[in-house]
């Protein structure tokens, strides 16, 4: 039965309602690209999501359509998901700054006490 729809576009497409569907194959939707955008010049690029695409050029077309529809974008990067190396969250302890590394922290340098003591000695 050909569908007669309220939507003239659907009626024109002459769609057979009963037709069997052959399920999509594994790579029908390609692989994914990670998308990074820059909101305005001077800002960092940041990750916004993914697109499915057969190559980088089309990934760029889809990324532009998907992630810059409302403006707020001056530059886009796409990179194949499988080319990104990542750390695992369960290894997050590698980022912990240990107490022994206080020499990296600005507040561990307390010169005012020493200056004060020096001045007191001079006056004495």
């Amino acid at each position: 039965m050909i569908i007669q729809s309220l939507d003239p576009r659907v009626t024109r497409a002459r769609i057979d309602q009963e037709k069997e569907f052959q399920p999509l194959d594994q790579l029908d939707q390609f692989e994914t690209y990670e998308v990074f955008h820059q909101k305005k010049r001077g800002q960092q690029h940041s990750h916004v999501g993914i697109v499915h695409a057969p190559n980088a050029e089309l990934a760029m077309v889809f990324a532009k359509e998907q992630y810059s529809r409302r403006g707020q974008c001056v530059n886009l990067w796409v990179v194949r998901t499988r080319d990104v190396f990542i750390t695992e969250y369960e290894d997050a302890d590698i980022f912990e700054t240990t107490p022994a590394k206080l020499h990296r922290e600005a507040e561990s340098y307390k010169v005012m006490d020493r200056i004060q003591a020096y001045k007191e000695r001079q006056e004495a």
């Binding site: 003239p8 999501g49 057969p54």
Partner: protein, 328 residues
């Protein structure tokens, strides 16, 4: 239902069967302190399963939802409304893409989700199985269905799964134009000629029952429901979201002098809650299981779109393509 978490109360075994209790405790502690869960984190099987189902249904709802509205693209009154409607429909399809991506991070391939939609295995929001016979129907959908969707999405965006929350934040930002556009169209008709007023009143009368169905049947309290709340998969009860919707929109509808087809609808000033006639939940079940006015057409249109363009996708699929799960 836009894709709410739900566990069958008749399920025999415990949903926590076979879980590592130490890891589970750490997982729950993380959620309790407001941290987000990310794709590579350890998570209970049921958490993954519920999220996949919920996010996938939400994605299907966006893509199927663009069909009743798309009905009026070719006949939208005036160039500006035509442009706006095309932009809105494009947004909805874009939202589907974002949501499919979020579901994919949990390990279900996009091909499988599309296959499950077309075969009828996966569901989508029931409201989109109803037709939009007039322009005023498209206006009521854009205003009130999108209003319901925003309440659902803002609520869910406070949930625990990072990729879903991020997708919802982006979606909510775009939806604000939809709501304004829908409201503008309804107000134009409601403040217009007698014929225009009648048209929008009839559309509201048609859409009120599906709108009442939108947030799903009242939740029965259950142990499973509590677990989903604790995991921040389910963020509010269906009735709470329905009350919030009525609080925000019933006064706005009455303000336009439109009649809501429920003689029992009123706000109880003592309890602060809305009282209303329960919509027909048997019809809801019947339609969600396939027997609605537009179910067959919606799926046939979706199937045809996949089928007729499949040769293009095959032609551009390069060599050496290898799928890995998206990162975030």
């Amino acid at each position: 239902m836009y894709g709410n978490a739900y566990i069958d109360p008749n399920q025999q075994h415990s949903i926590l069967e076979g879980e590592d209790m130490e890891k589970l405790a750490a997982f729950e502690a993380r959620i309790a302190q407001g941290d987000k869960i990310e794709p590579h984190d350890w998570m209970p099987k049921e958490y993954r399963k519920q999220l996949i189902r919920m996010i996938e249904q939400h994605a299907h709802s966006e893509i199927i939802g663009s069909l009743p509205e798309g009905t009026w693209i070719t006949r939208a009154p005036g160039f500006r409304r035509k442009l706006a409607l095309m932009a809105k429909v494009q947004d909805e399809v874009g939202h589907a893409q974002l949501l499919y991506a979020a579901a994919e991070t949990l390990g279900k391939r996009r091909e499988s989700m599309i296959n499950d939609l077309i075969s009828g295995k996966s569901k989508y929001s029931n409201v989109f199985n109803y037709p939009a016979p007039t322009w005023a129907d498209s206006a009521v959908i854009a205003w009130l269905i999108d209003a319901g969707a925003i309440i659902n999405q803002v609520t869910n965006s406070k949930g625990s799964y990072g990729p879903y929350c991020r997708a919802l934040d982006r979606i909510c930002a775009e939806e604000s134009f939809h709501l304004k556009y829908g409201h503008d169209n309804v107000v134009f008709l409601a403040t217009g000629t007698k014929v225009q007023r009648q048209m929008v009143q009839e559309a509201l009368t048609r859409w009120w029952p599906p709108i009442m169905h939108f947030f799903g049947p009242p939740d029965k309290s259950s142990v499973h429901g509590e677990i989903l709340m604790r995991w921040k998969v389910k963020m509010a009860s269906n009735d709470d979201m329905r009350q919030q919707f009525m609080n925000m929109y019933v006064p706005k509808i009455w303000d336009l002098g439109l009649q809501i087809p429920d003689p029992n609808l009123r706000k109880n000033e003592q309890t602060g809650k809305w009282e209303y006639t329960e919509p027909d939940w048997n019809e809801f079940k019947r339609v969600i299981n396939g027997d609605g006015p537009c179910n067959a057409e919606r799926l046939a249109v979706r199937r045809t779109a996949e089928e007729r363009h499949r040769w293009v996708r095959r032609a551009i699929l390069g060599q050496g393509v290898e799928y890995v799960t998206p990162l975030a």
